[in-house]
Symmetry: D2
Subunit: 342 residues, 4 copies
């Protein structure tokens, strides 16, 4: 029997990507699609790539529309999920692609988001230790941020194995779709093509406490995170360059072994052969994360690099993967591990 | 029982795209993968996006390797397919992504390709009148060129219905993957990013006689084709702008009706609602062709525009679609109609 | 003694490009810079590439601010120039980068722009026959549209020499800066990168009557223009592919000779050597137009292709070049003929 | 009297950029242009953007051709400059855009470049303390690497003022022109568009010891450098994100003051107003470096970011700027401080 899924916020990039994946999911039947300003419009005018859904009309995001589905994906602006989720019964699986239920530390939430903390849901990054157990059978899922996904995948073997000091330095480049469809001058094609630029420098990006939360849990001690995001001239993709000082005595062999072991059975997180480095092009539209690690012996630092598609593994793919786990379906079901390249 | 498929030329862009699609095809099992200069290398080093095949090693392209498969896809340089095909039994379905068997006119072949004409195989553009019949049960398929695919889809309703004069003017923009992985200076990223440039201007492009062949067959009289290809700063996609003078008395309603009727039942060729125009982004990685048509009453011309992914519908998707028809499988099997956007 | 120049609309792309060029002009001193919504802001926050003007503050666009300059460049939305120009004395050279004074045919103006016709000023494309004479000493200049610049340069030798029939078919690709800084969803980087798409198809683009006006004047008879603009994934540049049926008896030698003669003394419009084709990358930031022409004997059409930078030769460079002519300065003064490539 | 300049290696990206700048330099007359494989070809076929030099023919790179110039720019592959320079008289100013004479530490040279150390010339980064003095009157200049230029400009105020610990972590994104015109598969447009990828990870990039040399000299103690370069989908530009742990007691005010003071009189290195961050687009084709700095108090790190054009300030612009200093010309002569944006 098919899983019936609704998508709230179907006109945005995250919602569109959820739909792209659900269209290829053999166990899912697509139910209600809702929007806010775009309610009443055919999806074909807003998401022309979703050809099979072109004639579906967006409904308003309200409880009646979303009721009666097995799964509801929320792809709403931050701060709107709690109110919607509250009205959906406990038997409905609610998968929140927004930030509202990611952080455990209410103070950090309030400092970075400026609103009261709504709570914490099981965290939709199955690769992290304990995550699958928490997701299994759950009816609420907080999908991780795109950057925390890339960074946590790159560094969890290092922190889990105690290879590095609790101070991570991260510089990541994202495609512009990470900023959504917001009409802001710096997101115009004329501005971004041919240009790299940083933003949220100096600790201000909202994904910083989420990374610190994940890494600290792995390390068993507080990990400080220096995070600098940059905007790259591409529509999709995150390349996260993560480094930390290695602890005394750690060798390249230790590093390789820890990563190989941590990633051995992961269906989506793949450690590349030595000497090969990830690129975002190789994961375009794919739920795969490509990883590589090196030890810089001169500088005394471990460098771990991950490439993901920010909309797929970084958002909608992570959401569907976690849905699969929660519903007891095969984790890989309906999820591409093949990128669209070149 | 699965269809066992080999791919000759698996390290190139066309071969890689065939593999990407076959990985998602429920009835296909991937057999031998062959290469020339790259034989002996793992596919992961050459096509890092094909994660599930990363550890497969390329074999040399020889008859023994390719024997024993139900289907063999040839993604070889022009002129090499005939020799390989000859050695494959008549019961093997051979799908040639190259140009060798596309043209019926031996003189045109020799003028444009400079080698003896190898013959003509059933033409893998199922949307053309009579094409499905010719493909059904065939064990040889000539996959159309990427530009002729885009142009023939845009103009076949017009010529089929006698709406326009037999002189077509076509300007098309292609992504750089259309030129393959050849190491040529003008294909370097530094040269193509931020740049549009024409090539093969004045009738010299090899796809010109193939377009003329298709349009002339539809018109029932020789159609002259003025074709100008341009290289656009994107990896994938073709946008073909095609026009011809309308015959006296033809109205916008005639045009719309002819296109609506011709495309009504096509699974992959979609006429957009009036006022909406196609973009290559909407078909990235998809086998869909998005089409629109307008009548410019002042200039007296019909303008038809198509957007396809040159590697998918324009090459590998067309190949798999035609394979489905030849083998009696559902035509849409394993083929995405959803683009990876944004 | 320096020419004192003001720029109205200094926060937009056209205004910014005028300033970039004026900063390199040895006879110009930059005076007032005005804006509308951005008045009061430092230019450095809006146009960070104009480093030497970073601390200049935008003033409101009003007659007092603009008074007392030798030259005033208007880079305003269409329809606003007439009112501003009226308040500037007759001795001030007013260079209008907008469309208001380009068309001679009031009916065409009203049909395409929907407002009353403001009049016609000398046309700032010095390469056209008679244009320099009209510009010399003039105190009003209508800068051509970017597409008409590219198209008129590509086709004027053909129409001037009577080589082709009066039906031109034009397909042009533009960089996104041609659409200005308007915050529209289809101009977001996420939408335009990796994508080609048409717009204004079927004769609706406002530059169509301007092209027809130029070509008809050259041909001495009405020239019908079929024009299809497309948006390319690049910030700057126009590649215009223009064709028309050749008149009987015209040979490749006639074509070459006509183009060579027409362009022989032009400082900015350069006919490339045979076999070399223009690219927009080669004219990035340059006032040069690169041109090439071919005769397709099979199709019976002349194909002329031009590449310009839409903001430089297509707008601000054409404006400064025309200013030079009007003021009796050397035509090339302050204008780069070197592109920024790769 | 004009300075007569030759360019050896005029067909490459660095040589082309030197020529672009020299064409705009009021005191320079362009003499011999030489190439290797391309000798005998017109420059217009190789560098179509250099319109005024289109008909100049490349000569072979030999001593007779280069003799008799006041300045010779060497834009040759690494390792070839010493032999050429030796044959040029001591009165000729030789400006080496290659790496041969940058490093003082012969052992580091040999470890990273694998050839015997050729020596050390005055270092062409005038912004560094003492550099102008060393350049003035010199007849030999080693132009810095593009990455060391970006990184040294970003960090010199911090190390000079003792604000940070001697361990720098640097992640930089470069445009593809940094790799030159080499025909390598990973540099094809199809591969780089839409993709971010790292290379030389773990301390292997040849610019690492050059950065360490510069920062150590400023710090007065050995500075360890962890450097990760990444390739971005753009033709030009470097965005360098540099960080180091701040020393105890250092405040945001200290940081700001140190940077403001260090950069106060620099013509090309500009500290942006607080809250504004650099982008590579703003320096396209410009010799300006845009800089910003922040203190991340939570992570205890100073983050300094610079944007330069790798071919201009990072190579050819730095070369011309240093030539100006060496020859006693005004340092800014002929060098744009205005980027080509958008």
């Amino acid at each position: 029997m098919a899983v019936r899924a609704a998508v709230a916020g179907a006109s945005g990039y995250a919602g569109g990507e959820v739909l792209r994946l659900l269209l290829g999911h053999p166990e899912v039947e697509i139910g209600a699609l809702t929007g806010h300003a775009n309610a009443g419009q055919p999806l074909g005018a807003l998401q022309p790539h979703l050809v099979p859904l072109a004639d579906r009309v967006l409904e308003p995001t309200d409880p009646e529309t979303l009721a009666g589905h097995d799964v509801v994906f929320l792809a709403l602006p931050h701060g709107q999920s709690a109110a919607v989720a509250e009205q959906l019964g406990e038997r409905t699986l609610v998968v929140d692609c927004g930030a509202d239920f990611r952080l455990r530390d209410a103070a950090a939430w309030e400092r970075f988001y400026g609103t009261p903390h709504a709570g914490t849901w099981p965290y939709g990054l199955p690769e992290l230790p304990g995550a699958r157990e928490a997701l299994r059978g759950s009816r609420r899922i907080a999908v991780p941020g795109c950057y925390p996904t890339a960074v946590s995948l790159a560094l969890f073997p290092a922190y889990q194995s105690g290879l590095v000091e609790p101070e991570a330095v991260i510089v990541a480049a994202t495609g512009t779709s990470g900023a959504g469809k917001a009409l802001k001058p710096h997101l115009l094609g004329s501005e971004v093509m041919g240009s790299m630029s940083p933003y949220g420098v100096g600790g201000g990006h909202r994904h910083t406490p989420e990374m610190a939360q994940n890494l600290s849990a792995l390390a068993g001690e507080p990990v400080s995170v220096s995070f600098t995001p940059t905007l790259a001239p591409m529509a999709r993709g995150i390349l996260a360059t993560c480094s930390a000082r290695v602890r005394p005595g750690v060798t390249a062999e230790h590093v390789r072994a820890a990563y190989a072991k941590a990633l051995a059975d992961e269906p989506f997180a793949r450690l590349l052969p030595e000497g090969q480095w990830p690129s975002t092009a190789a994961v375009l539209g794919s739920n795969a994360a490509l990883l590589q690690v090196a030890l810089d012996e001169t500088a005394g630092r471990l460098i771990a690099i991950s490439a993901i598609d920010n909309l797929t593994k970084g958002t909608a793919g992570g959401a569907v993967q976690s849905m699969n786990v929660a519903l007891g379906l095969p984790e890989e079901l309906g999820l591409p591990r093949v990128g669209v390249a070149p």
